[in-house]
């Protein structure tokens, strides 16, 4: 997984409240196999980005040419609320986003984002509205997120500090996910396993039949 340290990238304002995980990844995409070249990127916010005939909605912010290649989304209240579907974080990642900035996020969604190397940074509502104003005034402007220093630098160079738990920060900065963390204990797991299997040889094991 790509480590997250300092990111300077085009940011897009998404001025909609309560964008739930069902909007981020509509339910009909949940049975899709996620494979390289056929991931969830095109499904991200599909019903906001496209009309019923599949045509791009010209008035939707992410369809504007200035935001092509945006890696930061400046969201509004409760982005990622709703169902716990893990595919929503995949859709964010596959669309090419690396960071979300907003006043609040769905709790499970936020955990799923960290798991996939995406930073969800929380700033006060006034700061978010100020970022939107600047991004609207100069479409395609960049924001810098400095994770080691826990700061965000707006297009007008205003610096905003944000909080993140030390554990989440370490995981993002090292680019490690939950399995990587666990496998740092590989020796402990293996010795535990060997002792348990020796003491309880009857524990079931199955074969492919």
């Amino acid at each position: 997984m790509q480590p997250f340290t300092v990111l300077t990238a085009v940011a897009a304002p998404l001025e909609i409240a309560s964008v739930d995980t069902g909007m981020i990844l509509p339910g009909r995409y949940m049975r899709r196999h996620r494979r390289p070249g056929h991931d969830y990127g095109d499904a991200f916010l599909y019903d906001l980005r496209f009309d019923a005939t599949g045509g791009a909605r010209a008035d939707f912010v992410l369809n504007g040419p200035a935001y092509r290649g945006a890696e930061i989304l400046v969201t509004w209240r409760d982005f990622g609320c709703g169902s716990s579907r893990e595919g929503a974080a995949f859709a964010v990642m596959d669309f090419g986003l690396r960071a979300l900035v907003g006043p609040s996020f769905g709790e499970i969604f936020e955990v799923n984002c960290i798991q996939n190397g995406i930073l969800a940074a929380t700033l006060p509502e006034a700061a978010i509205q100020d970022l939107w104003r600047q991004l609207r005034a100069s479409p395609g402007a960049a924001i810098t997120i400095d994770l080691p220093n826990q700061s965000l630098i707006a297009p007008d160079r205003t610096v905003h500090a944000f909080d993140i738990s030390p554990l989440r920060k370490e995981r993002l900065m090292r680019g490690i996910d939950d399995i990587d963390v666990t496998l740092e204990y590989r020796d402990a797991i293996e010795s535990f396993e060997a002792k348990r299997r020796a003491a309880m040889p009857w524990l079931p094991t199955a074969q492919r039949e």
């Binding site: 494979r35 797991i189 348990r196 074969q207």
Partner: protein, 469 residues
């Protein structure tokens, strides 16, 4: 001498490998069950990352949610819905690619995961078992610590590491003492408990069910009680192993054999909660006061004894509860104060991981023997082994003579993920575990109850007290 400990604490501490500074424990997973569900997300991600299954022989992939219960002989080709077919095929492919043992379509052991794990002797006392299914606690009836995991990241983590990170839950002992009245079953016990404590009543707790009513229960009944722990909010439900457990396990496919059996038995006997062990919370119930239950609303706590009536929201003081009941009655198309035994039904379903074991089928067949049903309905045994046993006992002929369909095994109409759904506005008496809006299909009206009560409803064409049939 060490401090007295609970069953849960013994098994939990037996499996802790490390504890993080944040207080989460990394626990060793003895065995993991995998269904189709969202598990393809886990395998897709493992593939993208180039990871493998660390201990493939400690997993069993079980196709249960998406299999049709009819027309099995034609295989996937006979499945009309390409999306459902694809989900079934994906588990075939994922089990093959990750070298996981798999009980699929045509396996002799085919069945619902939580029916076959105890039946095959996989669920044993003292084990930590995971599965990407909310009804995993079923296996806790065998004295195991059985924990549901998420179908994506958490399952992926179990497959790749054979461990799971969990926050230690608090402990809750539910003591059910006394003798159950005639026709009162394990399903009525757990529905009564959920009615009393609510669907969030045990949230955050690992529940141990104990007391003389539990000790007197068969393994099938205990599996039904533990199965619905999640409907009270508890992810973990368990029952201390005893002679009922050992007799049930002896001789099963994966149960210990020979000298191992005696070693295992010696270990298992150390597991029950010590006298004097303390729980974070204790609840007591009097078995003699339980009655045959039916649900009337859109949540498992919306249940009542069959001789009761639909509640009147106007008489409910709590505003939140009143709003819920109003909405539930609107959805269920029921009028306040209607006697429950006057609610006419359109169809019945007997099956699911809650009530599809041999004892459940015997109870339903005992009611249906020599009678005819007045509504449509189907019976789906919990496993192919249950199906064979039922046929050997002639139960299938009782069901078909009564006018019910005798189907193959699977999750089927419990949540309809295989496409077997109840039509909008149709009212179904069902042995399943959930009666939420749309659970059995959009607009489906579900009443959950025991197998004997469903059989009685099928005969009468309305919800009926099986004792008065």
């Amino acid at each position: 001498m060490s401090a007295p400990r609970t069953l849960f604490e013994k098994i939990w501490s037996d499996h802790v490998i490390v504890t993080s500074p944040q207080g989460e424990a990394m626990l060793y997973v003895d065995f993991n069950l995998i269904n189709e569900g969202q598990s393809f997300l886990a395998f897709d991600q493992l593939r993208l990352e180039g990871r493998i299954s660390r201990r493939p022989q400690q997993h069993l992939a079980v196709t249960d949610h998406y299999l049709p219960t009819v027309n099995r002989a034609s295989g996937t080709a006979g499945m009309a819905n390409p999306e459902i077919r694809r989900v079934v095929e994906m588990l075939d492919e994922n089990a093959r690619d990750f070298h996981l043992p798999h009980v699929g379509w045509f396996h002799r052991d085919q069945g619902i995961a939580h029916v076959i794990a105890p039946e095959l002797g996989i669920a044993q006392p003292g084990m930590l078992i995971t599965c990407n299914d909310s009804h995993t606690a079923t296996n806790g009836a065998c004295g195991a610590l059985a924990v549901p995991v998420g179908g994506g990241n958490q399952l992926r983590h179990v497959v790749a590491t054979q461990t799971v990170w969990l926050k230690k839950p608090k402990t809750l002992r539910m003591t059910i003492d006394g003798v159950l009245p005639a026709a009162v079953t394990a399903k009525d016990v757990i529905l009564s408990i959920i009615r009393d404590i609510g669907i969030g009543g045990a949230t955050g707790y690992a529940v141990e069910y104990s007391g003389s009513a539990i000790s007197a229960m068969s393994m099938e009944g205990r599996l039904t009680v533990c199965n619905m722990s999640i409907e009270a909010g508890a992810r973990i439900g368990m029952i201390a192993p005893d002679d009922v457990t050992y007799d049930f396990l002896a001789g099963r496919k994966f149960a210990p054999k020979g000298a191992d059996w005696n070693k295992a038995l010696a270990h298992w006997r150390t597991l029950p909660s010590d006298a004097g062990a303390t729980f974070d919370r204790e609840l007591s119930f009097d078995a003699a006061r339980f009655a045959p239950m039916v649900s009337w609303g859109t949540s498992p706590e919306d249940s009542a004894p069959i001789d009761d009536a639909v509640p009147d929201p106007a008489r409910i003081d709590d505003a939140d509860r009143r709003r819920h009941v109003e909405r539930a009655l609107d959805y269920m198309q029921l009028r306040p104060q209607t006697p429950l035994a006057e609610i006419a039904i359109d169809r019945v379903f007997i099956g699911s991981c809650t009530n599809s074991r041999i004892e459940d089928l015997r109870a339903a067949a005992a009611v249906l023997k020599g009678r005819r049903v007045t509504v449509r309905g189907m019976v789906s045994p919990g496993s192919s082994a249950v199906k064979r046993q039922a046929e050997a006992e002639g139960l299938d002929r009782i069901f078909t003579a009564a006018g019910l369909e005798w189907r193959d095994s699977g999750c089927s109409m419990c949540n309809g993920s295989n496409g077997e759904l109840i039509a909008p506005g149709e009212r179904c008496a069902s042995t399943t575990n959930r009666n939420y809006e749309g659970r059995q299909g959009r607009g489906a009206l579900t009443h959950i109850m025991s197998p004997a009560m469903v059989a009685a409803a099928a005969v009468a064409g309305r919800l009926t007290d099986v004792r008065r049939l």
